[in-house]
Amino acid sequence: MDQFFGYVRPDGSAGIRNYLLILSGTVYANSTAERVANTIEGAIAITHPLGRCQVKPDLRTTFKTLVGMGKNPNVGGVVVIDHFREEGCTAEEIAHEISQTGKPVEVVNIRHAGGAIAATAEATRKAMLIKRQISRLRREPVPISNLLFGLNCGTSDTTSGLGSNPSLGFCSDKIIAQGGRSILAEVTELMGAEDYIRERAVTPEVGERIVAAIQHFERRALESGEDIRGSQPTGDNIVGGLSSIEEKSLGAYQKSGSATIMDLIDYAEAPAKDPGLYVMYTPGHGSESITGIAAAGAQVLVFSTGGGHVINHPIMPTIRITSNVNSYQAMQDTLELDLSDIFNGDLSLEAAGDLIYDEVLETCNGKLTKSEILKEYTGFAIHRTGVSI
């Protein structure tokens, strides 16, 4: 079995990064969180517009997602900042959940600290002390079975379904064959792939639940009175040559490889420990989708793109691959791998899968993605279904 060098956490999980996370519990703590992260070496701020005035299911999703950020193995310690205490999604509640992992977690409340300047000082001091503590950790060998691997695609064109996605499927299969797990998300992009899903699910019941989730998403779109074709495929997909949601789906589905589908998991929910492929209920929206995957505990994600995409999740390094030679040449600043040799016959899909796998292992061992180096953290967004209240 292959291995990578990771940071082993008190709960037995293994991170490929050792981030100090400055987590904003609510929109009103965003500036303070950013000030602290800008001051502390290697700290990452996660900010967002949510955590207040949301309908209950959405507030739960926000809570679960923020907790998932802190629990993610790539995070060594956390400072949660909030502006006030309100039931449902407070910094204390978030920190309490994260602390179950055994990681150091601190809370700062802007109101209780005495305003923005005092809260910034308090949070910066707490962050510094956690940073001192987690900076002592060293990478150790960890079996690949410890990996939770994310699969996503975006700005797809027809090369995605023909080249980079099926190659990514081979990479995912290789990880699962060694006891690892993968997450396939973007339920909207499974429309048209239902028959395959039924064949691959571990039990007929799991297959039917996933098909029902696809139909549920489709119904939500229908009931909005919209023709889903107006948004799926997206405008950039259409320019890239995709003509229908079914075509996009069948291309997107190629990245799932051939492993058994073990279960359907909710947005931001951690899968069971059994090796295999898990389907997560997320929309096709890239940032919302990969945030759900990161909140489930995935350490690394491969993002397959046709037209080129700059997405990178703040705490889950995101390797961008393409098999469109034009996109690679235009976007070398942000794309890690060019697999376009697939189309001139020089590279089999399986060999391309090996190239992706090697890049994943190197990234797990510490090689930075281009977007990490450029601090391109464009990939955090929490999925919501209801109105603001």
Partner: protein
């Protein structure tokens, strides 16, 4: 020289252009399963877009990955561009749903 049009399954009636240089009037060799066919290109086709690798009748399913990705809205000639102007999705059709609802209400 690499392929210019990529056909995934032998039963597919479309292939994908994987070249920046597919122009109207060219005749291109396309591999479909075990056979190779010389197809005359009807218009300039952008990279990543589809062409018909055989004649497709209006109402026929458009096939890629060996599966239906939509329905032809007009007769499509071999070598012609296949895209949103001459095919439509069968899924997520809120427009049809809306008119069906209106029909239900008027009944």
């Amino acid at each position: 020289m690499g392929k210019k049009v990529y056909v995934i399954k032998p039963e597919d009636n479309t292939g994908t252009v994987i070249s920046d240089n597919v122009r109207a009037g060219q005749s291109i060799e396309v591999r479909i399963g075990d056979r190779t066919e010389l197809i005359k290109i009807q218009s300039d086709i952008p990279y990543g877009h589809k062409i018909a690798v055989r004649d497709i009748k209006k109402g026929e399913q458009i096939l890629k990955y060996g599966l239906s990705i939509g329905t032809a809205t007009e007769d499509i000639q071999q070598g012609a561009h296949v895209h949103i102007h001459n095919m439509e999705s069968n899924r997520g059709r809120g427009d049809r749903y809306k008119s069906e609802k209106e029909k239900e209400v008027s009944q």
